[in-house]
Amino acid sequence: MSLNDLWFLLIAVLFTGFFFLEGFDFGVGMATGLVPRNDQQKRLMINTIGPFWDANEVWLITAAGAMFAAFPHFYATMFSGYYLVFVFILLGLILRGVSFEFRGKAEGKWWTGTWDACILIGSFLPPMLFGMAFAALVKGVPIQQNMDLKAGFSDVFNGYTVWIGLTVVGMCLMHGLTFISLRTIGEVRDRARVIASKFLPVLGILLAGMVVWTYFATDLFARRGPFMYAAVAVGIVAYVLTWYFLKQRREGWAFGMTGAVILLTFVSLFVGLFPRFMVSSINSAFDLTIYNASSSHYTLKAMTIVAATLLPFVLAYQAWSYFVFHKRLSEKDHLEY
């Protein structure tokens, strides 16, 4: 495996990890509009992700940092080409992050109402827009010979990308609902589970549409047939098991299954893309790949040494933080947010 391959893998892992982790806290954010019956229940839900959301977001920051360092052309093309998409993603992330912290620091209907709305918007926009951006990227966007991309409105905003965006939103919401029922006790836990069961058929339609549409709109199945079919098969199993474990009230397993659906989706995306990062709709010779978009060998080597040294610690203390807060929360507990 060359260093270029390795860094493709690492960036894929960072984005996939981001959607798995921040996926559930986006979902919890969206679920604050569905599940709670009163303010205390809403606070309880926000507290389930309290210790985690910030570190989860750093997966995205690290993914972007790794793109910048290892594949500067990928970073430059994507961020400038998707300009307005990223403006709205950022506005969403900014509003969302401060809302968690600000919401509980003062009182009043207007005050809480404002931050509640920001949590909803901020938890919906990023997964929707990231879904659209990735869908457009794999379908093909007009990347020119000099690697510059000027994505037009219809390149990013069309039937396929909107469907994928909604599917990503749906996966996150589902993942968040199973997380809430895993982390709480009492009415919130039950309501989250019931709503998850009711929402499951909708997600099923979204997922099925994603698979079929991707088959026709992109070259993923043509390029990586066996892998894609296997991924779809495993995905169907995970989907069915989600329903089964929800029925059994085994929320830990249900959470594992909703997570598996997210993982399979993004792993398939990156497997299908490899060795490309972005597909040019003008000419496949203009695709951004792990070769023409990369940093020098020296930089990749330096980065590899740094990452190999630091990553084990980072993963270990993050895992530890999930262990520290693995107990369920109830409405009677002391809530920070």
């Binding site: 309290g50 910030d54 977001e57 910048f68 500067p72 300009y83 980072v314 203390y317 369920r328």
Partner: protein
């Protein structure tokens, strides 16, 4: 305005506002870590209360620092894609390491700190806060390593039409960084310290919670004093280094058109006319610029006209003089703010150690409240001088600002993002100020936590209740 102007304006506003929150986070996390250390060592609950009360300010601010930081990282790619392509090989690495080494540390352990009071032992909980504090400092180190490369590029070679890294260690031993980092770090400590000292002074003036705010004032004034003295020491080193590596920035910050002559006098104030390339009015202190530049009372400092001719020879025709008035005045405002900080910290420390805080010093307490703004004024004007003074370059000597901007982005897009982010930042800064005020007014009476009941999802049935 075209894309370039708008992108510059956006970078300036978002960086300046981001750099309001970041020094607060660095400063407050250090002070909170010190308070909690005293709690663990002295076993006195007062210090726990202090860590929790001032920790609230840290948390309100922390979220804002984190979320506005994401924009900083994305902005390089969004607005400055040609810059990113040109320097990504070198510049991206410190940014990626910042995320991997610092951001993960801060964000994970701040979560453990906030939610872990009852779940972690005292020592482990204390270590979490120190890791947050170290994380914020490491973050500053790596971002300044990247910035130092822009001020003085080292360890690279131009290959394949871009700057490629040849020596990673050189980035970290860049002498620019060795001066810039401690100077900025102590400025951040001072920011946190003056914030705590100012709020404490306000409460002492009202004679509220004296037993709480007197030790808070004492602790923060010590940190404020140490920092206020350290800042100009490292600043002096940085100025001397500046004369060697970026003489144009130095000349502009002095409003020096012609060579200064030997010994060089320091211009206190001047009316600058950049059009005619002359100053219409000046007040000068003899010998002072020689001392500032070389630590001795002899030596001449080159002027802008001579440097312009020299740069044209090296880099080809063009205007290499940065906006002189901005550079000149931001330098002076920074120095004035620094002097104010030293004076306040000295007098505050004198009152504290002479045990005179009891007495009536309303005028001084009032000054301390206004003093909260001094570090912010210093931080902002310091950055303006550093970044504006480097113009027209983004990477000194290698890449000009006009060649750094994204070629595909249009003015309307940047205008839209500029307006939306600036509005949002201003609103959020207002909310931050409101919450700071509200928390300070309410005072430190934190209600004791309710009894925690623990429900283990891995226990049989998934909902067994274990009373703690």
């Amino acid at each position: 305005m075209d894309v370039l102007d708008l992108a510059r304006l956006q970078f300036a506003t978002t960086t300046i506002l981001h750099f309001v929150y970041v020094p607060i986070s660095i400063g407050l996390s250090l002070l909170v870590a010190i308070m909690e250390t005293m709690y663990v060592i002295k076993k006195n609950d007062l210090y726990k209360k202090m860590a929790q009360f001032w920790g609230t300010f840290l948390l309100i601010n922390f979220a804002l620092g984190v979320v506005t930081g994401i924009l900083q990282e994305f902005q390089f790619g969004m607005n400055w894609s040609d810059f990113s392509r040109f320097v990504g090989d070198v510049f991206g690495t410190p940014l990626a390491i910042e995320a991997l080494l610092a951001f993960f540390l801060e964000s994970t352990f701040i979560g453990l700190w906030v939610f872990g009071w009852e779940r972690l032992s005292k020592t482990v909980h204390l270590i979490c806060m120190w890791l947050v504090s170290i994380g914020t400092m490491l973050s500053a180190l790596w971002i300044l390593a990247a910035n130092s490369f822009m001020q003085r590029p080292v360890g690279y070679e131009i290959q394949n039409g871009r700057a490629e890294m040849k020596d990673f260690a050189a980035l970290l031993t860049n002498e620019q960084l060795l001066w810039e980092f401690p100077h900025t770090l102590f400025a951040a400590f001072a920011t946190g310290a003056f914030l705590i000292a100012g709020i404490s002074a306000w409460k002492l003036m009202q004679k509220k919670n004296m037993d709480f705010f007197k030790p808070s004032f004492k602790l923060s004034i010590i940190v404020a004093l140490i920092s206020a003295i350290a800042i100009p020491l490292f600043g002096h080193g940085q100025a001397q280094y500046l004369v060697k590596t970026q003489p144009m920035k130095m000349a502009a910050s002095e409003g020096l058109w012609e060579n200064s002559g030997d010994p060089a006098p320091w211009t206190v104030i001047a009316w600058i006319d950049p059009g005619k390339k002359e100053n219409t009015f000046e007040i000068k202190v003899p010998f002072a610029l020689s001392f500032l530049s070389y630590s001795k009372f002899t030596g001449s400092v080159p002027g802008m006209n001579e440097l312009q001719a020299e740069y044209e020879k090296t880099y080809g025709p063009g205007d290499y003089i940065p906006p002189v008035r901005t550079t000149f005045w931001s330098f002076r405002i920074m120095i004035a703010a620094g002097c104010g900080m030293i004076a306040l910290a000295l007098y505050g420390a004198y009152l504290t150690f002479r045990k005179k805080l009891e007495g009536s010093h309303r005028w001084f307490f009032r000054l301390m409240i206004w003093g909260i703004s001094l570090p912010f004024i210093g931080n902002t004007s310091g950055w303006i001088m550093t970044e504006i003074g480097r113009q027209p370059w983004t990477v000194f000597g290698l890449l000009q600002t006009k060649d750094s901007v994204s070629p595909t982005v249009v003015a309307g897009e940047v205008l839209f993002s500029f307006i939306s982010f600036t509005t949002l930042y201003l609103i959020l800064t207002g909310v931050l100020a409101f919450l700071f005020y509200r928390t300070a007014r309410k005072g430190p009476d934190i209600e004791p936590h309710q009894q925690t009941v623990i429900h283990d999802p891995f226990a049989q049935g998934g909902d067994t209740i274990v009373a703690k």
